[in-house]
């Protein structure tokens, strides 16, 4: 097999290190440490921020790939979050299958965890299928027409949200954490919530899986190539349309996963949950650069951290801080942190 020449020994592109990009997260955390003062509070906030960031990343990854690959912006992406969250309530809640009173009240902790995993799988399957339907009804008819895409996907979101309301009602539904995931690990003064650690863990797993698929499989190769130049991928003999549907469905399923976790993070769910998170997601993918997984990962962490730090330091400015962050990044890099250079 060919050996890389010593004078041009490049690292594999996937792990090409961009210090500016990776330095942002520690930079923000460092600044926060100075601002917050107490290390234990800072630690709690940071873990919370990372957890939120991971969830945002899971939800945003699908959206950014879909845009990068097909130039389609799904303004209704939040609907998958809501669906995932609501399905979790059905599976886990008092009316859930099997356990009377709900799975979360079952005493054995390993059953609780299993129930959560089942809820996640069911939610992902459901949102994946919903994604298939959504693509067919609301996205495919308007390929290439950005204005109509924005309008139709918003319309799709309205319709599906109304359907959600018709099934689950318009009131808040609680989604309490199971006993096994409640509480926190104590390190000195700092309390790190168990659930948040789980969220971070799941987020890292998702990131790793995405990186492996994108970096080491042919499908991943196709997606990466398609983001750059989908016409050429088509010319090489691969039906891009099918690829896109696959990515769309995967993105929807991931958003469903994010929705379940988000619901458990917030502990209550309303039908507006989709629209609320939508705004944050858009901020994340704008900052990250449309089409870049790594970019949206860093952006999601930044947004999650920023939200938690300002939530502590200056609560009234929380949402503004994210917008300020977005504006600052755009002024520095107008196409986002890691834009994909598109040919076509």
């Amino acid at each position: 097999m060919a050996q890389p020449d010593t004078e041009s020994s490049w690292k594999l592109p996937q792990t090409r290190v961009d210090p500016l990009l990776w330095g942002l997260v520690p930079l923000l955390a460092g600044l926060a440490l100075v601002a917050v003062g107490s290390p234990s509070t800072w630690l709690t906030l940071t873990v919370a921020g990372l957890a939120m960031g991971m969830m945002l990343f899971m939800i945003a990854s699908g959206l950014t790939l879909v845009f990068g690959l097909m130039d389609v912006l799904n303004f209704g992406h939040g609907v998958f979050i809501a669906t995932g969250a609501f399905i979790a309530t059905t599976v886990l809640g008092p009316t859930g299958f099997g356990a009377p009173g709900g799975w979360l009240l079952v005493p054995q902790w390993h059953l609780q965890i299993a129930a959560v995993m089942v809820a996640i799988l069911v939610a992902m399957a459901a949102t994946g299928m919903l994604g298939l339907v959504f693509e067919r009804l609301f996205v495919r008819p308007v390929y290439g027409q950005h204005l109509k895409q924005i309008l139709i996907t918003m319309g799709g979101m309205i319709v599906i949200e109304e359907l959600i309301k018709s099934i689950w009602g318009t009131q808040q539904i609680p989604l309490p954490l199971p006993e096994a995931l409640r509480g926190a690990f104590i390190f000195g003064d700092a309390a790190i919530e168990r659930f948040r650690l789980l969220a971070v863990l799941i987020g890292l797993i998702v990131l790793a899986v995405l990186m492996v698929i994108l970096g080491r499989t042919k499908i991943g190769l196709l997606v990466r190539a398609g983001v750059e130049d989908r016409e050429m991928v088509e010319s090489l003999g691969y039906p891009v349309r099918r690829l896109f549907i696959g990515v769309f469905v995967a993105g929807s399923a991931l958003a469903g996963l994010g929705g379940v976790l988000w619901g458990m993070y917030q502990q209550t769910i309303t039908p507006q949950i989709g629209a609320q998170v939508n705004v944050l997601i858009f901020i994340v993918i704008i900052i990250g650069g449309l089409g870049s997984i790594m970019g949206s990962f860093v952006a999601a962490l930044l947004v999650g951290l920023m939200g938690n730090y300002t939530g502590f330091l200056a609560p009234k400015l929380a949402l503004f801080s994210n917008i300020a962050l977005m504006v600052a990044i755009l002024i520095w890099r107008p196409e986002g942190l890691r834009p994909v250079t598109k040919i076509r």
Binding site: F67, L73, F75, L137, F138, P141, V142, H146, L147, K148, I150, L151, I152, M154, G155, G156, I158, V159, E162, L163, K165, S166, I167, T170, A275, N278, V279, F282, I283, I285, I286, L290, K316, A318, L319, F320, N322, I323, M326, L330, I331, P334
Partner: protein, 369 residues
């Protein structure tokens, strides 16, 4: 004369013209045609919506810019007047101050948004406006000292607009009922006149050379740029003008309601409603604002009751047959879909169909006849 007033932009359809004339006359005479406060409230809301939607049509329909920050400007207008009247007392001066303040704020924000849109692509712009509007909404509910928070602000307006101020001793004769000639009537007719004038102004703008350039930019921005128009400036101006008219609409609404809160003026639901109405009414037509707003608000206020009465026997029937079990649940759910609470569902479906099949909206369709 009519041609001049309408800036040569005629409805161009018998059906449409008839409908419009009927609508305008009905709205003009609404206090005399329909008894009760609700009808008048709906009529006033229609008028405000017409102005709000028409200003959005300028942005979306004529310039091709999707912005989710439109209701933010609406809210600025409403809140400025509300805050001014609450803090400075119900006088024309405070209204004036509120107006001037809101115009200045909207102008500044619109310029900022418009100029920023240079650096980012259209999709970014839409998302940015979404984020900005969201933040503004949060801000409004958090600065509760000034804005009254979630509860909003109730305030009084100048004496002459209130119900107590009679400007005629004998009541006016309506359609089988009498209406006392008080300040509320004046307020309503004032609203009517201002909305009509503002609308005609908008018609003038979109039919001017400026308006034509906007449409050229919407069709093919590169070509427009190549011909020599600085699309940046035109787009920004469009954002500013539409924002200012929206601000005016907000101020009018606040004055009418004598109340303003985050739900009445800043909510995302309102932004979606405006979007729905513009598309269903007809993008790039201006007249679509009238037809669309009327249809929407009438449906929102009266259709629900209608649907309720239609659906109830069906629901009862299902309840009798069904009993329990999954099939009954599904039936009940299906019937529930047609209930009045879910009217937004059908509006959403209509919206999607409109974008897909009738991009010219109701007005466009009518013009085909």
């Amino acid at each position: 004369m009519i041609r001049y007033l309408l800036s040569n932009d005629l409805p161009r359809s018998r059906v449409l013209s008839t409908l419009l004339i009927a609508l305008v006359i009905t709205l003009a005479l609404a206090p005399l045609l329909f008894p009760g406060a609700k009808a008048l409230a709906v009529a006033a809301k229609i008028l405000v919506f017409v102005l709000l939607v028409a200003s959005y049509d300028l942005l979306l329909g004529y310039t091709g810019i999707v912005s989710f920050a439109h209701t933010m400007f609406f809210g600025i207008g409403a809140y400025s007047v509300a805050i001014a009247c609450s803090r400075l007392g119900p006088s024309w001066t405070s209204i004036g101050i509120g107006l001037v303040g809101s115009i200045a704020a909207s102008l500044a924000l619109a310029l900022l948004i418009g100029l920023f849109s240079l650096r980012v692509r259209a999709i970014f712009f839409a998302m940015l406006t979404l984020a900005v509007a969201s933040a503004f909404q949060t801000l409004a509910s958090q600065l509760s000292e000034w804005t009254g928070g979630e509860d909003g602000l109730s305030f009084r307006t100048p004496e002459v607009l209130s119900a107590a101020a009679q400007w005629r001793d004998t009541p006016l004769q309506g359609l089988g009922f009498t209406v006392s000639a008080d300040g509320r009537l004046l307020a309503y007719w004032g609203l009517f006149v201002i909305v009509c004038v503002a609308f005609l102004l908008l018609l003038r703008i979109v039919n001017s050379p400026f308006g034509r350039v906007l449409q050229a930019i919407r069709e093919n921005p590169f070509r427009a740029e190549a011909i020599g128009y600085q699309t940046v400036i035109y787009r920004t101006l469009s954002v500013v003008i539409s924002a200012l008219f929206a601000t005016l609409a907000g101020a009018l609404m606040a004055l009418w309601l004598r109340y303003n809160g985050p739900d009445t003026s800043l909510s995302f639901e309102l932004m979606l409603d405006v979007l729905l109405v513009v598309v269903i009414g007809g993008m790039g037509t201006m007249y679509g604002a009238w037809i669309g707003s009327a249809l929407f608000l009438l449906a929102q206020n009266y259709l629900q009751a209608l649907m309720q009465s239609l659906v109830k026997p069906l629901a009862d029937g299902v309840a009798m047959i069904g009993g329990t079990g999954p099939l009954a649940d599904v039936l009940r759910w299906a019937v529930g879909l047609m209930g009045p609470d879910r009217w937004l569902l059908w509006l959403g479906v209509l919206f999607v169909l409109s974008v897909y099949h009738f991009p010219e909206g109701v007005v466009g369709r009518l013009r085909r006849f």
